[in-house]
């Protein structure tokens, strides 16, 4: 049987697939189905954003103006760089450069942590400190956000910040999940589990990471650059 040879060639070829190409294609399609589900997840949030932005454009201008474009822009740069390092990780794995793969995964992790760190320290914390938490605790005051208290439609402004915190928060949560998986992949790389014959896990985590990057690519102009 020809499939016996194929199974002998690659130890990672599972018994229910005829060839490594078929296995890789099937796994890829499965991963893309997962990403399609993620599109549905974030899509719902973007739709809520679209409806409320359509209804309350002034609140969107006001809220967006209070967000820092340099910080959001810098974070975008970090995330794009982390996508590059992740893609390089796939390359290193495919050519059998285990050291390069480990360094690429480390760089991706560090850049991602910088992103979340900047977000927490320079964006979320000042907002919480100055009363920007929507709901019962809402009460803008202070140096950066006090001027928001003068805006007429406080309800609509709160909706802007609800969407801001939920969408950027879910995005950051996806990055935290990514960090956990990255640590596992880094540990497995150290165990020499990956190489030219087994690079799909790296590729698929890359798909996840790039997807999270794409979500941010849309979040950034939608929240920070509303004019």
């Amino acid at each position: 049987m020809s499939s016996a040879t194929a199974h002998d060639e690659n130890p990672y070829l599972a018994h229910h697939f005829e060839s490594i190409e078929q296995q890789e294609e099937s796994c890829t399609l499965g991963m893309w189905l997962f990403l399609a589900q993620e599109v549905m997840f974030f899509g719902g949030l973007f739709m809520a954003y679209a409806v409320y932005r359509f209804m309350y454009p002034e609140a969107w201008f006001e809220g967006s103006a209070s967000l820092s474009v340099p910080i959001g822009g810098a974070n975008t740069v970090f995330l794009l760089l982390s996508s590059f390092t992740m893609a390089m990780g796939v390359y290193f794995c495919q050519v059998g450069n285990s050291k390069g793969l480990f360094r690429a995964l480390t760089a991706t992790l560090i850049l991602g942590i910088i992103f979340v760190g900047v977000k927490w320290v320079y964006e979320y914390t000042p907002k919480f400190a100055e009363g920007l938490f929507p709901g019962a605790g809402w009460g803008p005051h202070g140096h950066h956000y006090g001027h928001l208290a003068d805006f007429a439609d406080q309800g609509a402004l709160q909706i802007f910040f609800v969407l801001y915190f939920i969408m950027t928060g879910m995005h950051a949560f996806h990055m935290l999940i990514g960090f956990a998986i990255l640590l596992v992949l880094m540990w497995m790389t150290k165990q020499n589990k990956f190489g030219p014959q087994r690079y799909m896990p790296i590729l698929f985590f890359g798909l996840y990471w790039h997807f999270v990057d794409i979500v941010w690519v849309f979040i950034f102009p939608m929240f920070y650059l509303v004019t």
Partner: protein, 106 residues
């Protein structure tokens, strides 16, 4: 033969540079005042360009099979359906009344 293709670092780096340029364009476009609708469309267009680059090259859709491309674009096609039907609703809600009522009753 879908995933065996090894994309060269040079390609990845070129895409990174393009993404950075488009990021600058995103911020620059926010300073050009074309009116809210056109600024929004421009921002979305640039974001879609960035998304296409990431999808095609970093996520290897360009180097994969057509079936992979169908799965990859399926999610976004669904989003278009969602967006279209949603705004068929919202854009036509106030055709017969003068102003959008506030959800806070005021």
């Amino acid at each position: 033969m879908s995933q065996h293709h090894i994309v060269q670092p040079k390609t990845y780096f070129t895409i990174l540079v393009l993404l950075m340029v488009l990021m600058g364009a995103t911020i620059g476009a926010s300073y050009i005042h074309l009116g809210t609708t056109y600024n929004l469309l421009l921002a979305l267009f640039i974001a879609c360009c960035k998304m296409s680059l990431i999808l095609m090259f970093f996520m290897h859709v360009k180097y994969g099979s057509k079936l992979t491309a169908v799965f990859a674009t399926g999610g976004f096609f669904w989003l278009i359906i969602f967006f279209t039907l949603l705004f068929c609703d919202y854009f036509t809600r106030y055709w017969n009344s003068p102003v959008a009522p506030s959800p806070y009753g005021g």
